[in-house]
Symmetry: C2
Subunit: 450 residues, 2 copies
């Protein structure tokens, strides 16, 4: 709390800073609902929670996100007499992967050899604010550290599907591909090794710009047109194709012994034992723009939704950045903000999340009944109901109007009559019904009908 009362400063804007949002109760409830599902599922899968500070020493972050990333890092002024110099010594968390890498190095002797952690925290990026692009947003990462086993990918795919199903998504699938397979296909099509990264950046845009423009981009990046066209043929698969058929074609193209294909097959086969069963589609055109993936790559696909609700993959050379040696890792990032938008648009939140935060309001009959109103509220709360007490001994009509304006479903009244009879009048503001209920049964009456 502030240290002293201050004069009103009506000239100051009261909007949140550009690119950030205030989360009013409805917003918080929706986000907490999704976060509680994610948390619950990841814990069932043996992932453990990690949280790191909002800011890091600036040298921890600088140089980790490329030239462009450096510019988008929010930098914090050094305190004290140095403040005037413009020197920055701290910077706001830009993602959850670099802090994870730092934690792995710092606590290497305390953390288990196979460490499965999840982390759900905001990150900050000084991007130009735009619709759906914020300067403060939550990331929701899960990473399994320390093993090259295909069980790891299968387990992550299972957990992600469990999250989506519990959120109410149906008909979704997980697109799966493999960096080694992509490399193999590019080689087979005749794309020279040094141009593979360029090819993947172009391929990543297939969904957005279409086949012809991707070919133009291949050409612009120095790949021969015939090679580009051959490439696109090998990536252009029917996304509804069963994995077994895709593997047959891949064995034809890359040989029976290709290690990328073998790894993919293991992952798909293991994932059949998880909630991802039947949901995996091999999508050879899936590239995932980021260059640090080294094995399987994966992405959520939801029917009638452009873009993805999240993605991830294996990246064995990254989280060891502070440790100084490679550490195998596979991770997935769920697009929390996007999931909330889609669930809101599609009406997927349960009524108790989107409805009022209060189940019932107790009115005050008159000044003398103030204490009794608090006592009744206590009885209802002990039964697990969320209860508000109207604070002032206003006219009853005013109290009802207030409750209706706040979308409170039930209003309880104990007037002189009710007190004499040991009852409570309970009005359902949605239907208009009003019933006299014995006081001892009031909580159960509301609970059964809310």
């Amino acid at each position: 709390m502030p240290r002293s009362p201050i004069k009103p400063l009506s000239s100051t804007s009261t909007k949140p800073p550009a690119g950030t949002r205030d989360f009013l109760p409805d917003d918080v409830r929706r986000r907490e609902y999704v976060i509680s599902i994610v948390r619950r599922v990841y814990e069932l899968y043996g992932y453990e929670p990690l949280e790191t500070p909002a800011f890091e020493n600036i040298e921890t972050l600088l140089g980790k996100y490329g030239e462009e990333g450096n510019k988008l890092i929010f930098k914090i002024l050094r305190r004290g007499e140095h403040e005037a110099s413009g020197d920055a010594d701290l910077a706001l968390r830009y993602d959850l992967t670099v802090p994870l890498a730092r934690v792995i190095a710092q606590y290497q002797n305390e953390l288990p050899k196979f460490w499965k952690r999840y982390q759900i925290q905001p990150v900050w990026r000084a991007d130009r604010p735009a619709r759906g692009r914020f300067r403060e947003f939550y990331q929701c990462d899960v990473d399994a550290i320390g093993s090259l086993s295909p069980s790891v990918e299968a387990d992550i795919l299972g957990a992600v599907c469990e999250v989506l199903s519990r959120c109410g998504f149906e008909g979704y699938s997980l697109r799966l591909n493999h960096r080694l397979v992509l490399s193999g296909l590019l080689n087979a099509a005749g794309v020279p090794q040094p141009l593979h990264a360029d090819a993947l950046v172009a391929l990543d845009k297939l969904d957005k710009i279409g086949r012809d423009k991707v070919i133009e981009e291949f050409v612009a990046r120095g790949i021969e047109r015939t090679v580009a066209e051959r490439c696109l043929v090998s990536f252009d698969v029917d996304r509804a194709e069963r994995p077994a058929d895709t593997f047959k074609r891949l064995h034809g193209a890359l040989g029976e012994a290709d290690s990328g294909v073998a790894n993919l097959q293991q992952i798909v086969s293991l994932a059949e034992q998880t909630p991802a069963a039947g949901r995996i589609r091999i999508d050879l055109s899936l590239a995932r723009g980021l260059s640090y993936y080294t094995g399987a790559i994966m992405e959520i696909a939801v029917p009638d939704l452009a873009g993805s609700l999240g993605g991830g993959g294996r990246y064995d050379n990254l989280v060891g950045m502070f440790l100084g040696r490679d550490v195998p890792a596979c991770g997935f990032s769920i697009g929390l903000e996007r999931i909330i938008v889609v669930m809101t648009e599609r009406g997927m939140f349960p009524a108790d999340v989107t409805g009022s935060g209060v189940d019932a309001m107790v009115t005050i009959w008159n000044e003398e009944s103030r204490a009794d109103a608090l006592a009744l509220a206590g009885e209802l709360r002990r039964a697990g109901l969320r209860v508000d007490v109207y604070p002032e001994a206003d006219k009853l009509g005013k109290q009802f109007k207030y409750a209706a304006g706040s979308q409170v479903p039930f209003v309880l009244i104990v007037g002189d009559d009710e007190r004499a009879k040991g009852t409570v009048s309970v009005k359902d503001l949605r239907s208009g019904d009003q019933q006299a209920v014995s006081r001892a049964e009031a909580a159960e009456y509301v609970r059964a009908r809310r």
Copy 2:
């Protein structure tokens, strides 16, 4: 995630920045446990969640916390070409009250007339780091906006007691006093009005420095020694005294009609209908250092604990700072970090919070049984168990050693024998017992014993 793989930078320190902490799984679980209690109770009491951005426009914060506070605000460099100039345009949240005041002004047409909100978020202060003093820490505020009614204080006192009881605290009390009563007593003792603020600052130290040093400080601040001594007599009450007796003495000192005493009496009487019943002690020496309180002030007192786990009061002239008019308000701030420290020291966390985050680990018998291990894990997870799957087909001894090192209570094995018989061997690593259980009953077996 970072945009490109990078070279190891082993020279960078991997500690979190000074004054901040990494929260490893045990830490997160403990904090989440307390937060979930606070959230649940505040929601039962009809408070609604609010979250605001981590940073505010710098002019929103500057000048709100006094000269000293201005220096402790973390300031963020303006982005882009301005970065070099050292100009700051944003600043990290310093408390939860100024953002609340901004939100009240910004959404005045959407928020209810009586708004009860809670907010649990980190704040940042560039204090010199010390034991127990951090630069990043959580605040946990609850405030009821818009009403002068004593029901408000009673409701907050009830909610706070409910939180403490659910956390497992016993024998605690709520110290209660009133700014108007303090003023009345200072007047009655002969302290001139302009010296009241000085007197309260000195009085606030009574617990720390004792009676004699407080008198010295009164004198140093320009209050006559005889007046100071008279003051201390009127504040020096037996803290175990029942409120009714205190009120009797106050009526003697201030008259029957004193509005502060009347307000306190109403609050105490109403609070008897809440979980605060029997827990309130009038403590006339309670001053709460902050100058913005205007009515009741309150503080948690826990047996055998110096200092407080939280406090609050009525402050009717503060949250309207951006609105440009006064708005009645009463709030309480629970000292989340302190509560966690005390609960940890006193062993108050339930075993499932402090124990392993995993209930059982499924071993892998050999490469061929990898899929079956995932299937078994799925069966256990569907029963609500938190289950890890060992990722590599290592020797069984190594897998057991790993589980023991991670404090996992149960390890499950499906070897060739078990597979043939349709059983699972379940080993309780705490007792060393190993039992063969039918596969269908494995989940229930673990659940009953974890």
